[in-house]
Amino acid sequence: MRTALFSDRLVVAVAIIVALVTFAIGIGNLAFPPGSVLHVPTYVVSLSGKYLCYALLALGIDLVWGYGGILSLGHGVFFGLGGYAMGMHLMRLIGPRGVYGHAVLPDFMVFLNWKELPWYWYGFDSFAFAMLMAMLVPGLLAFGFGFLAFRARVSGVYLSIITQALTFATMLAFFRNDMGFGGNNGLTDFRELLGFSLRTDEMRVGLLWASGVAVLLGLAVCRLMVASRFGKVLLAVRDAEARVRFLGYRPESYKLVALVVSAVMAGIAGALYVPQVGIINPSEFAPMNSIEAVIWVAVGGRGTLAGAVVGAVAVNLLKTFFTTRLPEIWLFALGGLFILVTLLIPRGIVGGIVTAERRRAVGAAPIAGPA
């Protein structure tokens, strides 16, 4: 097991970098006063935390796409549901400090003239319950969806389109006020978490570190899964699903496990994301977001795990740069990236490195299988 965990040198390298950078940013923000050369501004802390949440989401996508061949264009639905679970918890914690000052009801419910809390909001005042839901709800949705889809042998582009429809339908549903999730505006105006104000630097660094730990754990879990016998079967399913069946395996159960794990990771990512950006609304479910997450993985290199993290951070750095400096150009750049990556570096950044290494070592065949 130890060899399985540490045998992929690139994954280890990325894990070390994530750990070091995350730690350094936190220390730089807290230990050095503003004005010091070594001070890291608070907005960088929040931005880094956001990137790490994206990286965790990307890891989940890489697990199902890179290893299982399931191109989900709807992972935003799991991310968003995790985010809403956390958002609901944060809403409950506002308590009577809302604009309308109602003891229990969040502002938007008072505004809608609701008299009592809907049943599905019960329990979210407990942090543990909310975190459980942030994993359980995406997990269950993935299980239900995957169970039906994989059993019916829906695969390839058909599956991709259905996942897109799934997140699209969820978006439409969450836009409705009577769903009880704040409609268009979503959930926002959060104040505190675990007794600490969300606006302090300590809290922001704490969330950043929590996100860093989550990414490291995600890397470890994925690495263990793909290095085990499970991972070998999953890879075989990706490359020749029919053949795997004739060997007596049930590809659907392998794919289902991978999808559920991946959805839970996305849910955790969403739950960590919401307190750091301060809002969750239905636009998180937009198909565009899910597809953008897929392109992070493609850029980084699918089927490498390390690539998911690298890609998520790299593309989002680029996005931050463009949307602040040249907002007009961003969609051209993102669109161009989609096209160029698929045409010119189909294995992504990390995938390219792996192939080059392997070629040096063995002089053998490609690592990335058919999409």
Binding site: L71, F145, L148, A149, R151, A152, R153, V154, G156, V157, Y158, S160, I161, I162, Q164, A165, L166, F168, A169, L172, A173, F175, R176, P287, I291, V294, I295, A298, E328, L331, F332, L334, G335, G336, L337, F338, I339, V341, T342, L343, P346, P370, A371
Partner: protein, 553 residues
């Protein structure tokens, strides 16, 4: 006789004195003779008849009787005079009991002829005042006079008024007119009006029962309100009325369903247009073109540009701008498609998921390009006059633009089928689809066929854009809003089958519209999406799957 009535040449609405022409006067005179009334020789040349002069009184009872007499007098301007009385613009000269009418410009006109009466001193005139008794007489008279008006539209409106007022006093006038009425529509309305009046009268139950049955047959909401609001009638009539209400409700529910189905077909034809190009590229080439929606958008913007160019350079052709937009949109989108195929898609054959990503990137680039050129706001594309407006068909409202889009989608579908089945290119395309290598070795230039197929699919998307510009906002996001639906249609219908695409588009459109009143628009859409997801679990290859060896490879 009837024909002559029809040629009386009235403008719509209740005629005023000004419009009461000579023909009318002749007809009303004829009518009076037919009615067996002693028509006093119509006063020609400004000498007013006794019936008019009788109005010159300040006694309300006398005035009311005079109004009723006027209705039967056959006086050609009777309707105009009574209306003027109602509006308070009728005056009389005490001295000779001559009656005048003040027009909108304040000039005095002779009540009988409608000609401007020169030299009449306004000071010598007194306005005619009315009380409730007179007002009732006026209403009844106007109703009766309108019922016998030569213009069928006026008669229809009068009948509708009686239907609403349920005035039993109108029964004799209705009976008189019904005896002669030959216009079917007017006749129906009058029968219903008479029945309503019967219900408002103190007539016997069997007459009322017949009336209830007749009104129930009319079947619209007014009839329902009338029957539902019936009070002070016997048990039997009340029961019949309740049954009538139930029957009308059933009919209305049916009508609503028919209307929803029409909306559904209309939505289905839009979906069909958006999906049909996709059916070509995805269905026959297996290429997932996420930029398909943007090809639709290009078509819509082409329509916009064509229309703007005509507005500036050839406004007289504006009504026909679509005729130019259709081929241009096809060409623009087809050219874009051919370029995309040569520059991107051809490197990705056999890698569907990567094609999906690359074309998605392309869709972003195209959207942003259009946003940069045309701005982010919605662009207005006008409907030509022949596509504006609506008409009613058996209680169902049919809008012209929707109807034309249904027709257009069918033309596109069958045109495409014709191309695929009857042309050499279609044959080559099917050959390449079925066995690329064999087709290649038989001398078909497969790369060229691929390129042309993709161009064809994109061109059809451009056509869809022309249609969508007529019912939707033309904005850079136009394509995005249709892409998921279009994929659903293709997947639902089964890949590689245009009939399947047709059935799927219509089914989705109709189910969507039928669900909307029950579940609401958004929830309806969600339900449809979920139903589709469930359907694909059951039949992963769609409604009309291909079978056999071809599927496996």
């Amino acid at each position: 006789m009837v024909a002559r009535w029809g040629t009386a040449g009235h403008s719509p609405g209740v005629p005023s004195l000004c419009t009461a022409g000579r023909a009318v006067r002749r007809i009303v005179a004829t009518l009076a003779i037919l009615l067996g009334l002693a028509a006093p020789a119509a006063a020609q040349g400004g000498v007013q008849g006794e019936a008019i002069r009788a109005l010159a009184t300040t006694n309300f009872d006398e005035l009311a009787r005079a109004v009723e007499r006027l209705a039967l007098s056959g006086e050609p301007n009777a309707l105009g005079i009574v209306e003027a009385l109602r509006d308070g613009t009728l005056l009389f000269r005490q001295a000779d009991r001559a009656v005048f009418w003040r027009d909108a410009q304040g000039r005095m006109r002779d009540a009988a002829t409608g000609e401007v009466a020169e030299g009449v001193a306004p000071a010598a005139l007194r306005p005619l005042r009315v009380n409730n008794r007179v007002r009732r007489a006026i209403d009844a008279t106007i109703g009766a006079l309108s019922l016998s008006n030569p213009d069928p539209r006026v008669r229809l409106a009068a009948a509708e008024r009686v239907f609403r007022s349920r005035d039993p006093d109108a029964i004799p006038a209705l009976d008189a007119q019904l005896a002669r009425e030959t216009e079917a529509r007017v006749r129906h309305a009058m029968e219903a009006a008479r029945a309503a009046a019967v219900l408002g009268s103190a007539m016997a139950d069997d007459a009322k029962l017949a009336a209830v049955a007749l009104i129930a047959r009319r079947g619209d909401l007014e009839a329902r309100n009338l029957l539902a609001g019936l009070a002070g009638v016997s048990e039997a009539v009340a029961q019949a009325a309740a049954a009538g209400v139930a029957a009308i409700d059933r009919r209305q529910a049916m009508l609503r369903i028919v209307q929803d189905i029409y909306y559904g077909i209309s939505l289905g034809s839009v979906l069909l247009l958006a999906a049909i190009g996709l059916a070509v590229t995805f269905g026959t080439m297996g290429v997932i073109n996420m930029a398909h929606g943007e090809m639709v958008m290009l078509g819509a913007y082409t329509t916009f540009v064509v229309q703007e160019a005509m507005r500036r350079n050839a406004p007289w052709l504006l009504d026909w701008s679509l005729a130019f937009a259709v081929p241009l949109a096809f060409l623009v989108s087809a050219l874009a498609g051919a370029l995309v195929e040569r520059l991107i898609i051809r490197f990705l054959y056999g890698r569907p998921l990567e094609t999906l990503l690359a074309t998605f990137g392309l869709s972003l680039v195209l959207q942003q390009a259009v946003r940069t050129i045309f701005g982010p706001n919605n662009r207005e594309v006008g409907n030509p006059s022949w596509m504006s407006g609506a008409f009613e068909l058996g209680g169902v409202l049919v809008t012209w633009n929707r109807l034309w889009i249904i027709v257009f989608s069918m033309i596109v579908l069958f045109g495409l089928m014709l191309v695929l089945r009857r042309t050499a290119f279609g044959l080559a395309m099917r050959a390449v689809t079925q066995n690329r290598r064999m087709a290649g070795s038989m001398g078909i230039r497969t790369p060229w066929v691929d390129c042309m197929t993709f161009a064809l699919g994109s061109g059809v998307a451009g056509l869809a854009g022309v249609a969508l510009s007529q019912i939707d906002n033309v904005s850079p996001n136009l394509g995005q809003s249709y892409i998921i639906d279009s994929f659903m249609v293709v997947v639902f219908g089964g890949v590689g089958n245009l009939w399947g695409t047709l059935v799927a588009a219509m089914t989705l459109g109709i189910v969507n519209k039928l669900l909307e009143p029950i579940a609401g628009a958004v929830l309806g859409k969600i339900v449809v999406l979920l139903l589709l997801v469930l359907f694909i679990q059951r039949k992963p290859r769609g409604l009309f799957p291909l079978k056999g060896r071809a599927v496996e490879s």
